[in-house]
Subunit: 199 residues, 2 copies
């Protein structure tokens, strides 16, 4: 088949725009879409539109939701004295998966990165600060990524919050569970030594 | 974010159905869709619907096309005395990419596989045979995959066509160009020896 079958070429091109999808995969996905029944294809297209129309930020924590507030903010069982600050919604999913944390979240929707023109105003720092004056928050856990940007963001926010008398903590650094020490990089390893715990 | 954000969970589920997309990738793709502008998301959904509505099989060669006949069948420059028989449209793209072949194609839309309940009637064998009586075909090149099913299909079709006095050939087996002999499997290697060419 010549690539000049326009609707197919368009579909391949659309898939190629997605992250992590190269030309070969885009082609495979496009052919898969063609192999679907009409109903299935319509459902696929509708789901995209529906998700795009219905999902927006929670008015409190800025996480994604299809309601006014997200399910975690609405959940009466959660501990309202702790806020875990993360960069994005995927981090909330990752932490929820541990079933260890019962507090609230705040989703920054990014990290401060002057190189990319992202300052404190481009992420939801203001929204976080306004929550601190409203609620009775005792601790803020900074769970931004262990990257230069994540670190900088954690430092920036903790400097704003500490003067308010609220405890600010940071996720522990260390060797990942199940990993081999031999393969840990020097920085992780030295952080693991620094943060060693008494047994 | 709880997975209970229904439109998002649906979108992730839709992506998970695609071949080669696991849960993690589906999640990444869904978030990417959400990060699109409304126009982009609409275009993505529309392209899926459009491709699905417009694309069907060429009346001659059964390849995918958005017209009545595909571009290759319509192309006056192609050699109409040779038909290359392939399993699916992706194989046509692969062969076209070589710029070596100027004949026509026939897309079987599958291979005979009794294990999966696919017999000669489930693929486009009948359509191929009807082309042989209509046109002045001199050679059929069997280019089905070098798998058990592809082999069986090639054998089955060649037995039907040979009695008509039409030459039937099969793609050469051998070591892939650029590969290391050391890593070639025994079957490929013995096929390469069998098919050796005089220099």
């Amino acid at each position: 088949m010549a690539r000049s079958v326009v609707p197919l070429a368009n579909l391949i091109e659309q898939f190629e725009r997605l992250p992590g999808i190269g030309h070969k995969s885009a082609q495979k996905l496009a052919f898969y879409i063609l192999s679907m029944t009409d109903t299935e294809a319509k459902k696929f297209a509708d789901t995209i539109m529906m998700a795009h129309e219905k999902i927006h930020r929670c008015k409190t924590c800025c996480d994604l939701t299809d309601g006014e507030y997200c399910n975690i903010c609405l959940d009466g069982q959660r501990d309202r004295s702790v806020i875990c600050v993360v960069e994005n919604s995927k981090d909330v999913i990752a932490i929820e998966r541990t079933h260890e944390y019962t507090g609230l979240y705040h989703v920054l929707q990014g990290a401060i990165s002057p190189m990319n023109g992202i300052g404190p105003d481009e992420i939801t720092v203001k929204e976080l600060l306004s929550r601190l004056s409203d609620d009775k928050i005792e601790e803020i856990i900074m769970a931004t990524n262990p990257t230069v940007e994540g670190e900088a963001t954690a430092m920036y926010i903790s400097r704003l919050i500490k003067p308010m008398g609220i405890k600010v903590s940071r996720l522990a650094y260390g060797v990942p569970v199940g990993a081999d020490l031999e393969y840990a990089d020097e920085i992780t390893l030295s952080r693991a030594i620094e943060g060693r715990q008494i047994l």
